[in-house]
């Protein structure tokens, strides 16, 4: 479960990214966050992972108050999340396999267990035959799949994706969304920020719309 309670976020340059935002996302829900560029979507997702801290208000993630977390406990909050970043943050100096391995290394998984988990995650996103490839050789859609595999390899209960279909053509975007739906179906809480109208027109899911930092109801 993720709750925002009267959250404000003002950046040091005075820009107010979020103004009095309040909502609750229940466990197992798939929620889309909509809004034009600069509306505060990315800020909202960063607040969940404690990458940014709110100026005021409270954020609860899985019954933890994110504001109250000390610096040295933030890594453990992030380990319960699966994060897909807008700028992907793929490491180009290592193979696809090694990229997906990283979250498990951080958690101290034994190499054997880790390897089978990495393959399972790559299989899930359809990248298994590319495990020894270097990311530079992947297409845009494949890179995005790589990011998803890295975000889910440790089996998080919450999956957060920032513009996962940006710069992808419609077919690729649809197949990426399929991957998210399949995680949602097995009980993972999924939060996707997007301004892709094709995705937003799918009215099966709840949409949180942000406009200039305010939640539109």
């Amino acid at each position: 479960m993720i709750s925002f309670i009267n959250v404000y976020k003002r950046y040091p340059d005075g820009f107010e990214a979020l103004k009095n935002v309040a909502f609750t996302i229940h466990s197992g829900e798939l929620v889309l966050v909509a809004g034009h560029s600069g509306a505060g979507k990315s800020t909202m997702l960063k607040l969940i992972a404690a990458i940014e801290r709110p100026t005021s208000g409270n954020i609860m993630v899985s019954d933890q108050n994110v504001n109250a977390l000390k610096k040295n406990t933030i890594p453990f909050l992030r380990r319960s999340l699966g994060l897909i970043f807008q700028d992907q943050k793929i490491l180009y100096d290592r193979t696809v396999f090694a990229n997906v391995m990283l979250p498990l290394q951080i958690r101290g998984f034994q190499r054997k267990t880790a390897a089978s988990r990495v393959r399972a995650a790559l299989d899930k996103v359809g990248l298994l035959e590319k495990e020894n490839a270097y990311p530079i050789t992947l297409s845009g859609g494949e890179k995005q799949r790589l990011c998803i595999a890295r975000a889910v390899v440790h089996r998080p209960s919450i999956l957060i994706a920032d513009e996962p279909t940006a710069n992808l053509d419609a077919d690729y975007a649809q197949s990426i969304m399929e991957v998210f739906r399949s995680f949602h179906q097995v009980g993972v809480t999924v939060v996707i920020a997007t301004h892709d109208t094709a995705i937003l027109n799918d009215n099966r899911y709840r949409i949180l719309t942000l406009n200039q930092g305010k939640l539109v109801i």
Partner: protein
Amino acid sequence: MNIWLFQHWQALSQTFKKLVNAPLSSLLSIIVIGIAFSLPLGIYTLLGNLQTISGDTVNTPQLSLFLKLNASHADIENINSQLEKFPSIASFQFISKEIALQQLQQESSLNDIASNLIRNPLPDAFIINIQQISPDELENIRATIKKWPEVEHVQVDTDWARRLDALLRLGQLAVLMLAVLLSLALVIVVFNTIRLQILTKRDEIEVSKLIGATDSFIRRPFLYFGAIQGMGGAIAAWLLIALSIQAINESLVELAQLYASDFHLNHLSLQDSLSLLIFSALLGWLGARLSVAQHLSQIEPK
């Protein structure tokens, strides 16, 4: 606990991989550290060797007591009995003028001179070994014996050793100061290498932080790297000294033979070598720790 050990093992193997993947730069910085360390280490080894000479001599001071040329047997007996009663004398040996002459003749290079002498110019002498005492007390003994009748001259044979010893102490102080300075240099070298490594690994560190790596997880490979680099430097310095000693000993053998001595340089003791290894590993670790503390906090994911 198992996970903890495994992660340490992982960090260590990562470090070795890093060293092997960049052999030239690793080797260069290790050699730089090695050369810097070999300077105080070399002087320390040299001083240690010289000290074994002076040390033995200083610890057992020796006096030579020369009698007047016209001293009689009775005088010798008299001095002999006085020496027996004298406190703080460990042992003494009488060398008659005849024996002294014989010894002189045995010295091959002086043989010609000795055989050309018309009469024996050498005095009777006592060689006195004193128990370990302070230089002041030694001087008192010398003065007392000097006043005895028929004593021509009393000489402290070990004066040169005392001077050498004092000089060596000064040298040790210099080594200590040099070691402190170059230790600082080692810390700085490691600090800088780690800084460069952190810069090149910026992306990896940022991603690792974003997906839940703890600070100690991120720090660990750098700390191992620093410690291993320090150790590598120590080994390089040790080898440099070993090679130098080998080379010096070869030419020293000839020199020592000319002085009829079997003097040669010894390498660092096992204990000294181990302390060197541990100390430089600690310094490398410290350099890495400072560098990580300085630079890692600057990489905050945005």
